[in-house]
Subunit: 302 residues, 2 copies
């Protein structure tokens, strides 16, 4: 019987969980709302219950669990350092040990954007591109950096925060506090605000129908996203720059201008060989990455 | 008898050569002017003559040669792809094979800024910092990226061109053709021009004596250098950002403001642990790196 792995993607509003196999097929999935106001122990208990419930459906237990958490995690120890979007204090919570104890299986924990990158590495375009940079474009901009087939983590699985590169001196203040981050200019909400629309989707429709303000908002976002992508290409010469998340679907408004920016701004070496394209792993990249944590742990640069 | 290695640093105006041992001691050195207007074969022949001359002085031959060349090199094949600062056409020159044939020893060739980074990796602060970024600050701004003890190269030893990150949209046109590169704002000549002085050294003296225009020029350069450094920290979470070259000595005018910028702009994780300091390998970093090519070739991410 094939080995089963458990994967959990913990978010501020929902917790997605799945069982999957070593080839990245998600066999059983379940999603619950993140218990509002719950303390870390309660959230971790809910994760344990989810895994138990999926095991019951599958008729057997997975061999290990991988978890993506939107924060700073010491992946070696499984200790949580900081989670900005969950209400209660997570600093110092030994989440890995807690889950290993309650589920009696090995547990690996990683930052969620790095998890999505890891999913792309194993089950998306990763096999084509030994070195790549992934941008996750949505309400925030996150990402990850893969060098020679291994996901760069750093001590808190925080390497890859490429949405927090300063692209405009004295630009708009970002949620992180720094002025001029890419995220403060090119995230969905930032584009919507600049375009004067409630969300990026309606701003995109308007831009395509000729609304000048919406077009300008996307032009600005694409310009700075292009600079951020070109700078990473110049610094790392990866094989590809990939984009995922809802905004990555806006090929005409974002992806094509970014591709042009990379080819115009990278002059020190021929960058035509660097692919600039959508990621392949899709909306389940985070779960796939959590699954992958126990399938290919040597691809984590711990 | 200890093993000897040969090292050559080919520049637009001079060729430096040395013999050294596995611990990075340069035992014999010799420098000649780069033959003006010489074709690649003549320049390579001059390199061969230098190595022969050093061998004669040492009374024996080195086991291998490492060469730093200011251009795009396929380090796997030893083929030169492009050399901007040498007069004649180097494209496609099999420099490695040529030197291996004439000197009858293994030869490795690398871009010169990557060579300096490799020197720092083996014989500078590298042993303290498994992952670091090096800026070479001078008439241009180059550098290199080391991840987990290995120098990132990419297919043409061109990864690490961190001086050609765009830091200012529509900024001054860089020598590479792109507007707003860090090099176009923060290189020695760029600072001197902005300060109204013939060179960066006199601009630095003037800034220290209270010249407002010179102070502004350094402030601008340090601001953008700080952004570039902070962006690399945010993206890669290295253990250190190191600075070498003449301008790296300007601790008060450049290094301290850059250190402050990294700590102010990196908000997504605690960056206090990231060292921001001068490199240790000094002006011979390029030669030391060329020497190191044959001492620790596994540290090249080929």
């Amino acid at each position: 019987m094939e080995t089963l792995y458990a994967a959990v993607d913990l978010g501020g509003t929902k917790i997605a969980a799945a069982l999957g196999n070593a080839t990245g097929s998600l066999l059983h999935t379940e999603t619950i709302p993140t218990p509002p106001g719950a303390n870390p122990e309660q959230v971790l208990a809910a994760i344990g219950t989810l895994v138990d419930s999926l095991s019951a459906r599958a008729g057997r237990r997975p061999t290990a669990l991988g978890v993506g958490i939107p924060g700073l995690i010491d992946t070696r120890t499984g200790h949580v350092h900081f989670v900005p979007n969950l209400p209660t204090q997570w600093r110092g919570v030994p989440a890995g040990a807690f889950l290993e104890h309650s589920l009696r299986m090995p547990v690996r924990i990683l930052n969620d954007a790095r998890c999505a990158t890891f999913g792309e590495l194993l089950f998306g375009h990763g096999p084509e591109y030994p070195s790549f940079v992934l941008f996750t474009l949505g309400t925030g901009i996150g990402g990850g950096v893969v060098i020679d087939g291994r996901l760069r983590l750093g001590p808190l699985s925080a390497a890859g925060e490429i949405g927090h590169q300063t692209v405009q001196l004295d630009g708009p203040i970002c949620g992180c506090g720094n002025p001029g981050c890419l995220e403060a200019i090119a995230s969905g909400p930032a584009i919507a605000r600049a375009a004067g629309f409630p969300d990026a989707e309606s701003a995109a429709s308007a831009a395509r129908q000729g609304d000048h303000r919406a077009q300008r908002a996307f032009h600005t976002a694409a310009t700075y996203l292009g600079i951020a992508a070109a700078n990473l290409v110049t610094s790392l010469h990866p094989d590809a720059v990939l984009f995922t998340g809802g905004m990555a679907e806006l090929v005409d408004l974002l992806l094509m201008p970014v591709r042009a920016a990379v080819s115009e701004r990278v002059r020190m070496f021929p960058a035509q060989g660097v692919a600039v394209r959508r990621a392949a792993a899709g909306p389940n990249a985070g779960l796939l990455g959590a699954l992958a944590l126990n399938i290919a742990p040597t691809k984590l640069a711990l």
